[in-house]
Symmetry: C2
């Protein structure tokens, strides 16, 4: 087997820790180390799992030493030990590290919380892997944008798309975020239309005519999207279902037989068949698929903590030219157990 590429992960929160565990399952890459900002339960988990811990700088290292956690060096040291960095820092923070990454001439995969201009290109494996091959820096678009791109790219070859309209019902916070809200409100966020998601979809698919409108609601589990796609030609329901069933990283859920009608039941079902209960796939509620001539409507759900994990693995391969598109997607899906079944 060829030598594994070494991936340093800056940030070990919701996304970073999941990427680290996903890399552990790959044959062509390994985790060189992870950066934690400060010691907490995720840091102890990292130690438990055998990841080498680096601190952002000497200053941050002290707190780890006090907590009894061995620190192997600084971010600069980790970059020097790595072939590529996954920046999984909080939204907007990745940008602040860009001068350093650039100075040390390292490939970087940023997350969707950064502005598109942070990287050479925005990335979604199924939509633009080929165009992303060899780019030194990539940005895996956000969870909501990833969800929209999966359904758009799955359906774009069926008939030319005239317009996509989506209403995003976003989760208020991730499960561990105790300081975010709302507790009891529906927030129009942003109060103007379109939301930034439409623009973000275009960073990957510049040709698509899309509008998005978004609210935030008091739940932590998943986002839900109501998607309307108007095609140039009339379409048939069985064609749509066939394509979505065959497409990678999309799971169709039939509410009638499973009685899964909510994000809570989806997450509960995933705990039966999925490690840690994550759903890396986009979930489409099959019974909601409704067609009127050239217009398709449906509901989909996005597990914000994990939908971008397979995309990050593929982004590493694309940036470092480790594999071709379908080869990478197939290997990622095999190793992560994305079997198109929840349980």
């Amino acid at each position: 087997m060829s030598k594994k590429v070494k991936v340093g992960i800056n940030g070990f929160g919701t996304i970073g820790k999941r990427i680290a565990m996903a890399i552990n399952k790959q044959n062509d890459m390994s985790v060189s180390g992870i950066i934690k900002k400060r010691p907490d339960y995720n840091a102890y988990y990292a130690v438990e799992k055998g990841f080498k811990i680096y601190a952002v700088s000497e200053k941050e290292a002290e707190a780890f030493q006090k907590a009894g956690i061995e620190v192997r060096g600084t971010l600069v040291d980790l970059i020097k030990e790595s072939d590529i960095i996954i920046d999984a820092t909080p939204g907007g923070i990745g940008e602040t590290y860009r001068p350093l990454y650039s100075e040390l001439d390292i490939n970087v995969i940023y997350q969707g919380g950064e502005r598109a201009s942070v990287a050479e290109g925005s990335f979604n494996a199924l939509c633009n892997y080929d165009e992303s091959m060899g780019k030194k820096t990539l940005r895996v678009v956000s969870c909501n944008t990833t969800g929209l791109l999966r359904s758009i790219c799955a359906l774009k070859d069926l008939a030319e798309i005239k317009k996509v309209d989506a209403v995003l019902i976003r989760r208020g916070a991730d499960p561990p975020e105790i300081k975010k809200g709302p507790i009891n409100a529906i927030t129009i966020n942003p109060p103007t239309i379109p939301s930034h998601h439409a623009h973000d979809v275009k960073t990957v698919l510049p040709w698509v005519n899309i509008s998005t409108a978004a609210v935030v609601v008091p739940t932590t589990l998943m986002h839900v999207h109501h998607v309307t796609i108007r095609f140039k030609h009339n379409i048939k329901k069985n064609e749509i279902i066939e394509i979505l069933n065959a497409y990678p990283r999309i799971i169709m859920v039939d509410s009638k037989s499973t009685k899964i009608e909510s994000t809570a039941q989806l997450m509960d079902a995933a705990r039966l068949g999925r490690e840690k209960g994550d759903i890396n796939e986009l979930v489409i509620f099959e019974d909601s698929i409704t067609i009127e001539k050239n217009e398709l409507q449906f509901f989909q759900a996005v597990h914000q903590e994990s939908i971008v994990i397979p995309e990050n693995i593929d982004a590493i391969r694309a940036s470092l030219k480790l594999a071709q598109k379908l080869e990478s997607i197939k290997e990622t899906d095999r190793t992560l157990g994305l079997t198109k079944r929840l349980y």
Copy 2:
């Protein structure tokens, strides 16, 4: 002044108690009595406010006597004491009283939780008051349908409407409902498209081409709708804003200046200027009004506890032919303080 018509109210929950208080403010009607199913804080409030309490039957009366609450008679007695009955019983229960109402030949206003077939016609004051004049039984459509009808009827004269599409983000429960959910989920409800709301809008406006899709979320304050209206001709933003500003029972909220971007802030603002903090109007978020050629998009919010209250007052007048449409609407809005300002 002419003699006041006597209105009996069957049900004194979220809607019934508000209708009773609203009738107290009218010059042409008074509450003959209210039916409570069982004694609770709403029953004590009714006593406090001087409403005469009736029990459904002799059997239910006992519990009131034990609770020290005087019962004036049964539902049959109340019907005989009244010129019209407001049925504000829980959804689906009104239908079970229909044979009795019919037997005693009383006019009845049902609520939107009943099937459309319960009454001679479905009612919204601004959309079909004239067609409802003199009908013995009317059904005031539900809160969500009332919200949709207000914006559709406000805008229908601007240009011919080709299609209305709405995504309804519904509150999970009313504030006092401690046994309903979801607590932490987005429920696709119903899991199929269209939801019943599209059909319900057509009970008042049979000509409208409408599709609705709905989810339920963990909040108690208000519903939020994302509405798309495609007209046959191109439209202009200033025309839309002008019409909505001039239309009764619609309040425009400018998020930029007020910082009101959520249902929580709306309800908090209403507590400044509105008795009991109710918002009887449909609220439209002005900054969300977005136009592309012939297509209009915006967000609106519906206070489910109170939006139908003015409609019930007008429905009484329409059924009993007490007043013409604009006369009734103007009087209802004056007495309820619907000044097009929240505070």
